[in-house]
């Protein structure tokens, strides 16, 4: 047990917490008998308070690989293993994560509890889609192996359940075979929202799509953006220098970063300058490149602790999804609202989700557009977020719990009606949203 002041990636809110590091179901069981509220926690890469509380059950010491079937591409590991560690092990064998978020520094447990999505959601759905089974220690202390077929109720409650149903000990999931460690990437410059939406829709057959948008533009430039799309490169796609070791990334990756954030931008935190540079970095309407997988999937991981640039008070990420047919109108209103508030977001990411899984009620993605924006914590922020909430509600969308730190109880009850009630495994977020 250790006491520490903690916060997640947004550095807001902060809590004083008692940390426990169980290594087995038995140790979790012992801790459960103390009958205090325990919050499961992975690597703290959620933004708000979803893995914070007075007493934390960390998966940090559950960091072992248990089995890797290289024929079938199936990996079984403990919940505290990081996606970055998995990539190190599986890529050289010709496999990739079936689904990955925009940072590789999250745990398998965190990926399951938030049921994370990636740039391939429209093709490969969420992380849960690829799970063969998960091992969960539930409230009674019992260790239950659940899957889509076995104890399926617990399975579907747990994926996207944000740690509320129990402590995930480990999981087995299917990997994706790849020929190389590279991505064949195309980037398209879009003048405005209409154009980027059209690009998304014509890119449906691409495995990976995402767009970075400049949220400060208005009028006919509103939604000016850069759309990236990609496929795992085949061996024959690679230039000669990489062909010899197709499953190894070159060492000097920094040079290949699709977005180089110049130091002064980070220091002065000039959103306008950043977005201008980013957009104009690419002069032509579209460009093609073969890039290593890291800069394609994890551009921000290169800048360690970039979250600190928001200062001591921290920041929050606001991510919502709107139904597809209402997305255009909704996005326009939201972008207008942000511009008016003059609280522009430094990084704004747009993505088109595919169909949602009706069996997974807590999983965030629904078919439609999702936008994620960062806002530094400051006085006017709660008001802005309230206004954004109203727009999201009006267009029948909802927010991503893994990023949330400000949602109202009313909005939560309306948009996550089936979410389990607080139990012994409850985070500060769940308490905030349900009391």
């Amino acid at each position: 047990m250790r006491k520490e002041e903690l916060s997640n990636w947004g550095n807001y809110p902060k809590v004083k917490a008692e940390l426990h590091f169980p290594e087995s179901a038995e140790e979790v069981r012992q801790l459960l008998s103390s009958a205090q509220r325990l919050v499961p926690r992975g690597n703290g890469r959620s933004y708000g308070d979803s893995s914070l509380g007075k007493a934390i059950l960390s998966s940090k010491r559950l960091d072992k690989f248990l089995a890797f079937d290289e024929k079938a591409g199936i990996l079984h590991c403990e919940a505290g293993v990081l996606l970055s560690e998995i990539l190190e092990v599986v890529v050289p064998s010709g496999f990739f994560l079936p689904v990955t978020p925009g940072t590789k520094f999250i745990t398998v447990g965190g990926a399951i509890a938030a049921d994370v999505h990636g740039k391939n959601h429209h093709v490969d759905a969420c992380f849960s889609e690829h799970l063969l089974f998960i091992d969960v220690v539930v409230e009674t202390g019992e260790l239950i192996r659940c899957s889509k077929a076995e104890h399926s109720e617990l399975f579907w409650e747990t994926v996207g359940g944000m740690g509320n149903t129990g402590f995930i000990l480990g999981a087995s999931f299917r990997l994706k075979p790849v020929e190389t460690a590279f991505i064949r990437q195309e980037s398209l410059k879009a003048k405005n929202l209409e154009e980027v939406m059209a690009f998304f829709e014509e890119s449906e057959s691409w495995t990976y799509t995402v767009a970075w948008i400049d949220c400060l533009q208005k009028g006919k430039n509103q939604g000016r953006s850069l759309l990236l799309r990609g496929e795992h490169a085949k061996k024959e796609d690679l230039p000669a220098k990489w062909k010899e070791k197709p499953l190894t990334q070159p060492k000097k990756l920094q040079l290949n970063m699709p977005m180089q954030l110049p130091g002064f931008v980070l220091n002065t935190f000039s959103i306008k300058a950043f977005n201008f540079l980013y957009y104009h970095k690419q002069f032509s309407k579209s460009s093609k490149a073969i890039v290593p997988y890291e800069p394609f999937f994890y551009p921000l991981d290169f800048i360690h602790n970039w979250n600190r640039m928001y200062g001591k008070k921290g920041f929050t990420q606001y991510q919502f999804v709107l139904p597809k047919e209402k997305s255009r109108e909704g996005l326009k209103e939201i972008l207008d609202q942000i511009r008016i508030s003059r609280q522009g977001s430094f990084l704004t990411v747009l993505k088109l989700f595919g169909k949602s899984n009706p069996l997974a009620p807590h999983t965030f993605p629904q078919e439609g557009y999702t936008l994620a924006m960062d806002f530094p914590i400051r006085k006017g922020l709660p008001d802005l977020l309230k206004k954004l909430d109203e727009i999201v509600l009006k267009f029948e969308g909802r927010l991503y719990l893994a990023k949330d730190a400000f949602m109202s109880k009313a909005m939560y009850e309306h948009t996550y009606p089936e979410f389990p009630k607080p139990s012994i495994f409850s985070s500060d977020q769940q308490i905030r949203l349900s009391t």
Partner: protein
């Protein structure tokens, strides 16, 4: 190389194993339970495609030791790390001999029971390396943990003597004195950051020093100075301090 690690389920032992596995060495690992061993083994095999053999071992089940050492075939080993330890609770140990005994036996007697035969075999073959993880706590007894400190002091002296003896036989003996380390053992203790090493960093330093055949190392160099001061505080002052 063939590497034997006693106490491979400790944070430090596991990190040492990770480094050697990544270098392609063959690993012989001990831990208390089969469950612990299974997860360490699969992990190292998958991460590093390493050759791993595992053995259940309780540091204070002395009777079991000779037979276990036979099974490991210690003459085939190139380097042995003795990593296990037990911090115990000082206050409890003051009242309860059971706790004192546990502290002494795990940290000292158990290590001697395992390392004596290994020293013998290495001396005969005229090669090998023995690395003992002792502690700065062994350099001067302090009220807060002198039970643990005294056992580690004994272990340090044991390693000193063994180094002296085996130096004549071409066998290398290294004493490691970690200061604070962020491990299972120190959970709950308030540790000063500049004096505290993470197990992965500590393991790197230890493995490198072992390859260079160092004698005694402090994991973080600052501890050499800290302990120099602590050792040299005159007793009439020291005893008044609440350290």
């Amino acid at each position: 190389m063939n590497i034997l690690i006693f106490g491979a389920n400790s944070d430090l032992g596991n990190q040492i194993a990770q480094i050697h596995a990544s270098q392609g060495d063959n690993l012989f690992l001990t831990a208390r339970t089969e469950v612990q061993l299974d997860r360490i083994k699969s992990d190292l095999e998958i991460r590093h495609k390493a050759e791993i053999q595992t053995f259940e071992l309780d540091a204070i089940d002395f009777e079991q030791h000779p037979q276990l050492l036979d099974r490991i075939e210690i003459s085939e080993m190139d380097r042995v790390y003795c990593v296990f330890g037990y911090l115990g609770e000082q206050e409890k140990a003051e009242k309860d001999f059971g706790e004192s005994r546990q502290i002494i036996e795990v940290n000292y007697t158990g290590a001697v029971s395992l390392l004596n035969p290994i020293a013998e075999v290495f001396a005969q073959k005229g090669a090998g390396s023995i690395i003992g993880i002792s502690s700065v706590a062994g350099e001067r007894g302090r009220m807060s943990n002198y039970m643990y400190g005294s056992a580690k002091a004994a272990f340090t002296a044991y390693l000193d003597g063994m180094r002296n003896r085996l130096a004549h036989k071409g066998v290398h003996v290294m004493t490691v004195k970690p200061g604070f380390m962020r491990t299972k053992m120190t959970e709950g203790l308030p540790l000063a950051a500049p004096l505290t090493a993470n197990p992965d960093k500590a393991a790197k330093i230890i493995v490198k020093a072992a390859s260079k055949k160092k004698n005694t190392i402090y994991v973080l160099p600052i501890w050499r100075w800290v302990m120099l001061i602590i050792r040299n505080v005159p007793e009439f002052i020291f005893k008044k301090l609440k350290l």
